[in-house]
Amino acid sequence: MAEAAGYVPEYCRKDTLVLGCGNVLLGDDGFGPQVIAYLQSHYPLPEDVALLDVGTGVQGVLLDLALSQQKPRRLVLVDVLDRGQPPGTIATLRVDSLPPGRGGDFFPHLSPTSSLLRELEKLAGVEVVLLTVQSPGLPQEVHPGLSAPVLEAVPRACELIARSFFSHA
């Protein structure tokens, strides 16, 4: 089998996988990818951690994780989420704190689905952590670049990730 021959992506074999989610073309939606880029350029990456800028393709990575015989012990999703907080507020959430529902399952292309995250945690035993930031608002048209409060939150989010999940940092 191909998997036995070494075709499992490296990120499946790590202890911790950090996924930066969002569209860099849409303002603060690019927070997740920006955090990944900042981590890559400012922190030594421990051997047991993988960083991945998944853009708007996170659903595929989650399904691949569900498939793989090897999975990370912990999955960290970095994303922008409207929780009614002051702009730039960072929050660390668990999947159970998300409301139940079929979000994103109506179409394949709205992702990640909270239900898939729940299943990864409950059925596959992967610890799922959500690291989110509050945006003052997303643009309605293509407009790359983060707002000032969200840009300011990037190094704070990276420090939090490194302190919490980079055991050698």
Partner: protein
């Protein structure tokens, strides 16, 4: 008069909203499907070096990045006036077959499959991926394995699968090694085994069970648009073929798309409605549509004379024996998708058997010039057109992109209207009905990721019933 609104709530309001307008008797008077596309991308491109676009456009969509990547590369080839090396064409097509395998497996089994495996009327709590996995665990394992392999093929060829940058104006930046070909052959063969299994499984266990649903569900009659090469199915290269509902067709090179396709605008949506220019007008009237055509799998299977790989050709012949040409039933998109899955796997095996695939001369140099270039591929979700114009420095002056979902905009609206008319009588409807209406949209596999994504899962489908004065008289949530 009442309105029923099906609306997944996302951060950008109206991401995909279905409004069903009822008359005074409670029957469907009209429907509108609002799909919000990524706006402002063309403007964003202006002034940039055109060679940057193939690596920017995969950011438009995390679901079909390879389609945008390759259509953009082809448009750049045309802008620079370069004929790429033969091996570059082969590598682009090979990677694309991996992407098609990855995408079609996902759609048939994971996204639309639950409608059939679990039954169209099943409650959502079992009509999902986990539902399938629990009902048919062995199949679920194989499904996810094949999808994984398709993705890995693109990764071996391109270094990364999600935001590819390996295809460049003038060719392909990374030759494939003999060692990698050995790995890829193993992957492609396993994908072909799975595609063969999937077709046999669907014909034995799924399609017969729902054949009556397929035959009776929301029938509409339209034309079709797809790519052919010498009349045969091709997903990467060839001429476009526009077929009218009577089966007559005309072939034309992609760069002449504006001679054949016009765009209609409705005041209630930003998304345009492309239509066949020669029809002389545009109408979505169910009994007498004018200018409407469809793209995506069923369209491609309809417009081609043949499929140049043996197993897929045999399936095409059986399909045509059962449903004719052109086949019009909307749910046949799923069947057509499995024929294409077979083709993609067979074609991957074929390309890897070509000894020229390891030729290291994968790229030609290019020089900027003032020109217009059009690149067309068949994306999993329909014909994808990238049209660029540059100045003498190679900077972008104008960009026009037509994606598969846009081609299907009119047909999606018609299918939803037909489904709603058949399912809502005298004001009677229920939650099961909502899924049956959504099925009409899912058949087309519309791509909506361009706009945003959603994390919190809050009440994504909402039914509002509004009276003629605009007052909400009922509010149902899923």
């Amino acid at each position: 008069m009442k309105q029923i609104i099906l609306q997944p709530v996302t951060r950008i309001e109206g991401h995909a909203k279905v409004t069903i307008q009822l008359d005074d008797q409670g029957n469907v008077a009209d429907t509108r499907v609002n799909v919000v596309e990524l706006r402002g991308f063309e403007k964003f491109c202006v002034g940039r070096p055109v060679e940057e676009l193939p690596r920017i456009v995969p950011r438009i969509c995390g679901v079909c990045p390879w389609a945008h990547h390759l259509a953009s590369s082809k448009a750049c080839d045309a802008v620079f006036g370069v004929e790429i090396p033969p091996v570059a064409k082969k590598l682009r097509e090979l990677a694309y077959m991996g992407h098609f395998i990855h995408s079609h497996v996902l759609h048939f089994f994971v996204l639309s499959g639950p409608d059939f495996v679990m039954g169209p009327g099943a409650d959502y709590t079992v009509r999902n991926v986990i539902g399938i996995a629990q009902k048919v665990p062995d199949i679920a394992r194989q499904v996810l394995r094949a999808r994984f392999l398709g993705q890995m093929m693109t990764q071996v060829l391109g270094g990364k699968a999600i935001h590819p940058d390996v295809s460049v104006p003038g060719g392909w930046s990374k030759p494939v090694t003999k060692e990698e070909v050995v790995k890829l052959k193993e992957m492609a063969k396993e994908c072909l085994d799975f595609a063969t299994f999937a077709m046999n499984f669907a014909k034995k266990d799924i399609f017969p069970q729902y054949l009556e649903v397929v035959k009776s569900y929301a029938p509409i009659s339209t034309g079709f648009l797809g790519m052919v090469q010498d009349g045969a199915l091709n997903l990467y290269d060839g001429n476009l073929r526009m077929m009218t509902a009577d089966g007559k067709y005309e072939d034309f090179p992609g760069e002449r798309y504006m001679d054949y396709i016009a765009e209609h605008v409705e005041p209630w949506t930003y998304l345009k409605f492309p239509y066949l220019k020669k029809a002389g007008g545009f109408s979505m009237a169910l009994d007498k549509p004018v200018g409407i055509y469809r793209t995506n799998s069923l369209a491609r299977i309809n417009v081609c004379d043949r499929i140049p790989t043996p197993q897929a050709q045999a399936e095409l012949e059986e399909f045509r024996k059962n449903f004719g040409r052109p086949a019009q039933l909307t749910l046949l998109y799923h069947w057509a998708r499995l024929i294409e899955l077979l083709y993609a796997a067979e074609r991957a095996v074929e390309l890897l058997a070509d000894p020229g695939i390891t030729d290291p001369n994968t790229r030609k140099t290019v020089s900027p010039r003032a020109a217009r270039g059009v690149g067309v591929v068949e994306a999993p979700r329909g014909t994808l057109i990238h049209d660029y114009e540059t100045d003498e420095k190679g900077l972008v002056k104008d960009v026009n992109i037509i994606v598969g979902t846009t081609h299907n905009n009119a047909a999606i609206n018609m299918s939803v209207k037909k489904a709603a008319q058949d399912l809502i009588k005298n004001g009677k409807y229920d939650q099961g009905l909502l899924n049956l209406v959504e099925m009409a949209i899912r058949a087309y596999d519309p791509c909506l990721s361009c706009a945003t994504h959603e994390l919190d899962g809050r009440i994504p489908v909402r039914v509002n019933i509004v009276n003629h004065a605009g007052e909400t008289v009922a509010n149902l949530v899923d």
